[in-house]
Structure formats: structure tokens, C-alpha cells
Symmetry: C2
Subunit: 364 residues, 2 copies
Amino acid sequence: MQSITKGLLQLPAKFPNKKILSIDIGGNLAKTAFYIPKSDPQFQDHKSFEILTKDTIPKLSNGEMIYLKSFPSTKIHEFIKFAKQHKLIDKDSQHIHATGGGAYKYNDLFEEEFGQMGVQLKKHDEMESLVNGMSFILNYGKEPAFKYIQGEGKKYLPRESTTQFPKLLISIGSGVSIIKVNNFNSFERVSGTMIGGGTLLGLANLLTGINDFDTILEMSKRGDNNNVDMLVRDIYGDKSPFKDLKGDLLASSFAKVAFDNEFDGNLRFDDISGKYKKEDILNSLVFMISFNIGQLAYMTGQLHQVDQMYFIGNYVRGHDLAMERINFAVEFMSQQKTQAQFLTYDGYLGAIGAFMKEFENDTN
Amino acid sequence: MQSITKGLLQLPAKFPNKKILSIDIGGNLAKTAFYIPKSDPQFQDHKSFEILTKDTIPKLSNGEMIYLKSFPSTKIHEFIKFAKQHKLIDKDSQHIHATGGGAYKYNDLFEEEFGQMGVQLKKHDEMESLVNGMSFILNYGKEPAFKYIQGEGKKYLPRESTTQFPKLLISIGSGVSIIKVNNFNSFERVSGTMIGGGTLLGLANLLTGINDFDTILEMSKRGDNNNVDMLVRDIYGDKSPFKDLKGDLLASSFAKVAFDNEFDGNLRFDDISGKYKKEDILNSLVFMISFNIGQLAYMTGQLHQVDQMYFIGNYVRGHDLAMERINFAVEFMSQQKTQAQFLTYDGYLGAIGAFMKEFENDTN
């Protein structure tokens, strides 16, 4: 673990007069970040880029603009077509900065497509890119982070004038990695859990036949976990022997169906739905998994003296209930002293971190 | 939170010359602890008690003997019949020491049965009884605690000559309570999780139609979680970017079934079984829940500077796989520095703690 500040994240007063392109090829989505100098003829196209890239970061503190766009990883050819069509590779371009597992998987394809132009795919460490992307966004992005408070929704936080360390980055993919970020380029995975997004999808699939993430999150919002979970009240009545356990708190996920004898191994999903609504089952799953992630993250933060916790990944991105429940856990565990934070440009951290490597090369 | 030593757990040189009886009436089982002086005619019966009470503590350090026996809570009449038949209530008995939720539920019944004899049900705090029972057993029970090491099985630990504090007591019921024990009579619930025994039963019931705890644990032993879980290797190949994550570690519970499209909502349990064996599903559930409990307990211990962790409850009692997996988590999290501990007389802690109240009355 190092704590050398490489100055990587210092935004240049003006971006260099050449195009910059990066791509983070993940399991599901390929995310790209690109820059076109205002002097470039291609920049005339910027209105169309702005329409194309809904997730653009329009206002960096130096007035420059990075465009962000995503493609399905299986349709990497669309990205290549897009890059060529909009001339995102310059005659001065030496590299496409790349990260994510797909950077290796598609290396030969990129070689084939861009090799003749003298442009190489330059691979960067995935975790380092993620961490640098987060730090960059917090410093230079507009409304870079937010909290999600129950009943209040999103509450945006200002950009940081200097990056505050340490931070926890909780990356929720199939499983969950809890990364302690000590400084630029200095980070380590300090904890994690196997109960993550893959668990939600897998169990939802087996229990309800639904394996589409957005559908699961949408249906879970309409559910009521009280129909399948056991609350503190169900065990202790209103006189819990533990002062911190109020009656309406969850005592045991899925415990209300524990002793139901009607499940004899010949039941259909439809029968389960008749008795236990899919919405309720999914609501319980989201509650269980989200609380557990928030709890583990908070405890990890306590162990490493870190207060700031940023939760990222498909599991939370755009999913109100998941964010709300994770925040509930962090607030509950911290006795309202700390809240969960989320990132506006979640999803593009790796691409942005790889993009910023362009400046590391320039300054080193 | 107090740390007054009441001397409660000091074993008298010789038990008083009268019978002592206690009962802990839980949701499923009623557990009783009783003592009969050797001078009592009823003691002639002791061989039959020993046969009746397989879980007896035969060798307290003062040579005395406490018998332990359990009944289904729904058959509390059997206990009353047993107590009368074997004359477990003495003419000198003033109290039946009682704890557990059922002590309130069955108060009138006991009043009816024993009130005429002048014997009252004396109710004791459930948590205090549990904590005192644990401390007592560790001091005076034969081979009171053990570790459960994968491949090696149980490894018994010697009795403690003086009780070492602090300890963590992790009580796994439907949900899980993590209790920090500072001293006799001084304890507090410092953490917990809703992912407990009720979650195993509830999800097992919905997923496989099996809701019998012993069957679930038995079947899970024959399963292979690799068929439903995603391992680190499945995500990163053999080159994980995290030094502490080896390929064979679990990355995401149930993630292998996440994107299976055959679950269209019209599937039968039998179809699931054909594709995903019930044994594998149950194995994955036990792995997931056990690791999570072990991890939370270890982290809680770290936060409170407690090394000794005792896991109790139906979830672990007599269940090798559950104990092994919890220990795996504690060993993994502590980098082999700490191990999970279990109690030989698990299940009887509350009854023994209530029993010991007899001596508190005598000495105060």
C-alpha cells in the first residue's frame, strides 16, 4: 500500500489540444469517456454529442467537457463504429485508455481496427481507475455526490475543493467489495460480502422467476416485507429486552414463512404468489441485502476510522429503494451520525479514471 | 450497564440440602435444570435421571450434579407431570426459577399446579439468565466449550478457572443477537442481524419446500454450493485483483442462477430440483448465512476489543456444517488468529442461569 501523490487528479488548466478517448469494458456495459478540443472541426458536432450522452459532465471547473456514453459490452462493434464515425481518434492519439475485464477480451479486435492508425489499447488497472475516477468526480464534477434520505429523496452535495481522505468505496456488483481509499493510487480491499447484487438476482430468479434487475427493483417497491419477515414485535411484543430494538425493526428475514407447511415440494411459483406475493418476497430480499451491505460497510468504516462511505454499482444506480435501505442501515448503525453517499456519475468511474491517465503520461 | 460482581456464579462448596428446579420456556423447547440432594430418597432414582437426561453435567468441580432435560414447549404438561412424578419440588422449595417467554405465558398453569404447595414461579430476566448460564458452564462444566475445525471436528477446551471477560455471546435464533458480556450481570446487545435461522428456514421452505431444520442441515451437507454460487475464480479467473481473494472463495451467493432464463414463473419445485439440486441450494444458503454471521461477529469483536466469541442456538447446536462455516468465517476474517467457540451445554444456558439464582438468594 502506497500513499504517493502522483498529482494524477490535478485537472490541467486547459486540456491538451488533442482528442482523448477511454473505455471501461465491464461484464454488461462498456462505458466510454471522450474529449474533443474546441478547435477541432469535430467539435461542431458537440450538440449532437450532448444529445447522445445524457450523462455528460457539462461543467468541469476549468470549463472543459468530457462526454460519457455507454454501450452493451456484447455490442462492442457499435462503440468502434461510433468512435470512427465521430472521429474520436485523432492523428495525435497514441492510445485508447482501457480498463475492465473486456480490455483483455477485446484487445485483438481493437488491434485490428485501430492498429494501422498507430493507436494502441493501453490497459489500466481496474481498481485504480475506479478509485481515481471517484476522486476526480468529487473534485471536478458538478453536483458529484448525493445522499438519499427516506421521504426526502436525493440531496446533492457540493464538489470537494480538495479531496478528503480516507474514504470507503463500496462497490456492489454480483458480490460486494469494500475498498479503503487512503490517497490517490493508494487503496486496498479491506472487506466485502458475497451477499450482493448477484444474490438478489439469483434468489429472485429462483423464488419468483424474475431475473431482470429493474423489474425486481420496481416490483419490490410495491411489496411489503412484513408479510414474509418477522419483526421485533412478532417475537417480543412491544416489550423488547433490547433498548435499541424497536418493535417495527426487522428481526428475521423470511422467518414468517419458516414454518408454513403448505410447501410440499409440488408447488408452483404461481401458488407461492397466491400466498406470498412476489412483490413482498422481492421487497424482503432488497431489505435484507441492502441492510446487510450498509451494516457491513458502516462497521468496516468504524474499524478503519472512516466516516465517508460511497456506495456504487448497478445495485444502487437509479434504484431508490436500494439507496434508501442502505442509507437506513448506515443511519441506524451510526445512530444518525453518518449517512450513505452515492455518486452522480456512478458507472463511469472506471472510464473517467482511465481517461485521466492521459494527464499522468503528460506530466510524468 | 453495570459491572458489579454479585458473586452469583460462585459454586457453593456443597449445594443446600434441598431440591432445586428451574425451567426456561422458549418458543420451541422448554429446558429444565434440577438438583436432588444425595440424602433425599428421590436420589435413589439418580440412575434413571442419568438415563433420562442425556445432557447431564455429571462433574461439577464440587462433585455435585445438575440434571438437564428438555420438553417441547407445547407439551408443558409433560414437564409438570415429570416434576410431580419425580418429586422435583421439595417441601422446602419456595420457587421454581423460570425464564423465557413461556414463563409469562404459563404462569397461571404453574400457579394452579403448584400454588397449593406454596411454590411460586419466580421469573428471571432471559438475557441475564443466558449470560449467567454461559459463565457458570465455562467455570464449572466438564469440557464446557469446543472449537469446530474443518476436517478435525470438535476440539474441546478446558474449563476456565476464573471467568475471563469480556466475551461475545452470539445467540442465533430466528434472528441473531450479538451480546457483549462485560462481567456477571453486565452485558449489552451491541449488534445483530436479521439474517439468521429464520432466514434459513424461510428461504429453504420457499425454495425447496423443506422446513425441517435438521433435514435442511442434513441435506445441505451433501450439496455443492459451486453449482449455484459464483466463486472469485468465476469472475476474475485465477488473477484476482485482490490479494486476499483466492479463486476458490465465494464471490456471490446464488449469482450463478442470476441470469438463467428458464424460470418463467411456471416452474415447479421439481423442475428447480432437476436443474439445481435442493442439496446445492441448501448448501449455498447455509454457507451464505453462516459466513455472514461469523463475519459480523468477528467485526463486532474487533470494534469492542473482544477476542472470545461463543456462538449458541439451534442453528449451530449439533450442526457440524453450520459450526464449520461460522468458524471458517472467523478464521478467514481474523487471518487465522481467532476461532469460533461453541458450548457443550448450549440450549441449557437460560435454565442453568435461572437455576443459579437459587444461590443468589441464599448469599444475599
